[in-house]
Symmetry: C2
Subunit: 459 residues, 2 copies
Amino acid sequence: MEKTLEFIQQNRERFVEELFELLRIPSVSADPAYRNDVIACAEKVADFLRSAGADAVELCSTSGNPIVYGEKIISDTLPTVLVYAHYDVQPADPLELWSEPPFEPYIKKTDLHPDGAIFARGSADDKGQFFMHIKAFEAMMKTDSLPCNVKFIIEGEEEVGSVSLGGFVKENKKKLQCDCILISDTHIYSSEQPTVTTGLRGLSYVEVEVEGPNRDLHSGLYGGAVPNPIHILSRMIAQLIDDKGHITIDGFYDNVENVSGEERAEMNRLKDNPEEFKKSIGLRGVEGEEGYTTLERTSIRPTLDVNGIWGGYTGEGAKTVIPSKAYAKISMRLVPYQTPDEITEKFSAYFEKIAPENVKVKVTPHHGGMPYLLPADSKEFLAAKDAMSQAFGKEVLPYRSGGSIPITALFEEVLGAKSVLMGFGLDSDAIHSPDEHFGLYNFLKGIESIPRFFENFSK
Amino acid sequence: MEKTLEFIQQNRERFVEELFELLRIPSVSADPAYRNDVIACAEKVADFLRSAGADAVELCSTSGNPIVYGEKIISDTLPTVLVYAHYDVQPADPLELWSEPPFEPYIKKTDLHPDGAIFARGSADDKGQFFMHIKAFEAMMKTDSLPCNVKFIIEGEEEVGSVSLGGFVKENKKKLQCDCILISDTHIYSSEQPTVTTGLRGLSYVEVEVEGPNRDLHSGLYGGAVPNPIHILSRMIAQLIDDKGHITIDGFYDNVENVSGEERAEMNRLKDNPEEFKKSIGLRGVEGEEGYTTLERTSIRPTLDVNGIWGGYTGEGAKTVIPSKAYAKISMRLVPYQTPDEITEKFSAYFEKIAPENVKVKVTPHHGGMPYLLPADSKEFLAAKDAMSQAFGKEVLPYRSGGSIPITALFEEVLGAKSVLMGFGLDSDAIHSPDEHFGLYNFLKGIESIPRFFENFSK
């Protein structure tokens, strides 16, 4: 282990420079305009895998973006760790809110990152985090200390619902056979209080459309006498959550896990600074489901958020129009034991039920993902916990995250293996937002934790 | 009169060709990208005025778009008619809903326009309608039959609130001195039932902004615990109108004209086909203020409409974001004796009042306009009514429109003259919408009515 850590220390500056090469590629999967960049990024990832020492590196075509595969099989008798990650990134808009262009990485110190942080779209989610795995693998290879088999699958559609990955995993069940899946696409509670994520929320994402008149109308000539789809959509959205923060969709809470009072008490020991939470995002006050803390609302409780809304004239100046249609993108975060199919169906039925008779509504499901739980007494969790304790020199706690990595449930179903969510970012790293960044300290601690995880898990 | 009408008949095809030249210029005032086209359009209008026989034609600069002025003064002892119009047009988007490009005019027959209609942005609002005045003026000039003085002021900012016109009128009070203002920027009830507009609604137009967190957030990590500005804006919009269709803003109805039962009964004789109304815009059902007919809701009652809404991710695909801000453009149509300043102030106060404490809201007034009334026994109304009766060969009724021409109130205040709203389009001509058009029959009847109005008004 010492040699490996020494190699990492000696090469840390090069690792950052190489990561910058990846960050310069705008591999935005949600927008077809970036298709060529997505491919270029996949090729770059493959190059890095090859030069790190991986075998059988290839770009596996899918009906969407290619999946990068690579492996190092050293013995049939040793366990196999499958590293899963994604090289695609969220769209960077609103561009004007970035301090610097999102695909021109640079390093700047912040209060939470006194050693500096790498600023760029994808720095934390997920390029910076999967690059730790490639570099840790390189360190183990170069110092002859890889203690088990390793496989990489790095996909390009995570930010648009991993549409091709499910089919790929099912078709390549044998190739992907493994004893656990290692994923760094989550965050720790803080650099002082490292955590391993043991739970993830699921997701149901839909787009809705409300149509009033069959064409845009002049609001002077028609105003006051026709259903305005923006008003009606607003009213319908307002109806989805009641004044106690409960989601009103019929049957929405039917299958929600009933977390014990003990577990809730334990969980609430972690996050104890609501003022800091508010301050970090400039809020005057939090809100949410009555009877739950902020930490619970963002982890063990399901939620509903409008992620986008549009309709009518949104350009400069004024236009007096009643639009024909208004639209919204709505997502629901799910907890064990809700399922995306169930919730999407319940949402659709309810949304149609509450629509007034004089409009047409349409609900289009986008994608979904299952919630996930990793028991805190499992071998996988303990290997990760010990690895991070060694690297950080601190006690490591289990943590439930509010985010979603839908593929964890699929891995368990198809490959029969548990996923270990060993992420190293902070939740203040602005992933999905302007000025996304990833701490240099966190990047280094990640690279140091990974060989230890391999060692612990191979014992 | 006979010679004038003969000249019009002989030149009608040329008139249409010349109008096409104007329609080809995309003089969109709401979008600075069209600034050069706006200027080109103003110059074209000036050319047409000059060649029709107007003197002292000039482009008067303003802090915004130029105002085209022209005149023909034949005697100090004769009355003066001031023709007001606008050469700017509404934005053409959504472009994909036009059957043909919006600035490539063409003629097509429709059910309501069996003689054909001119399709193009601005064909009815207002290029086609003010061109009738230039051509009627040309006909009177060429046949030596102009019976009074005439002045033209054709502005380029009507669709963005006539921001420069008020100052211009005040500064040029003497130059614009007149006995009445003649405006063709409204519609008739139908080609079978011509009407003169005797009332217009006023306007208060605002933009609102709701800010929750100070940056965009990941809806997985934060969802359920923070105020989502889209939800809150939706809830606030939903609150602006109650379930009886009443606007809830404090004091909103304080100054509303109480129209007598008799006048309401008279008014409701006109529009008697709600099924046709619904069918024409593909509606399953109308809605609006309880206790009023569709005709009343669109003319004698004030209204509130959201004209645009946006926030969060509105591009292709899915993005799981809680946006920092959400926005809406909201306009209110006013009736006598509401004023835009009063209503804008009441709106702002109410909108701030209903905002939850954990968000910041901002209300930005865009522009406003006063409502307007022309008595049905005035000389101006009677001159227009008789002119149109002669041209159409039909009885002409007074009509209250739901639209706004804010400048009418200013003309009355500064110039001490009444405006005559002698428009010729149909309310189904899709002004402000894709496939805007203007009937050839209406265009011709307009050109024939105008010299008659001049004659009637000069008696």
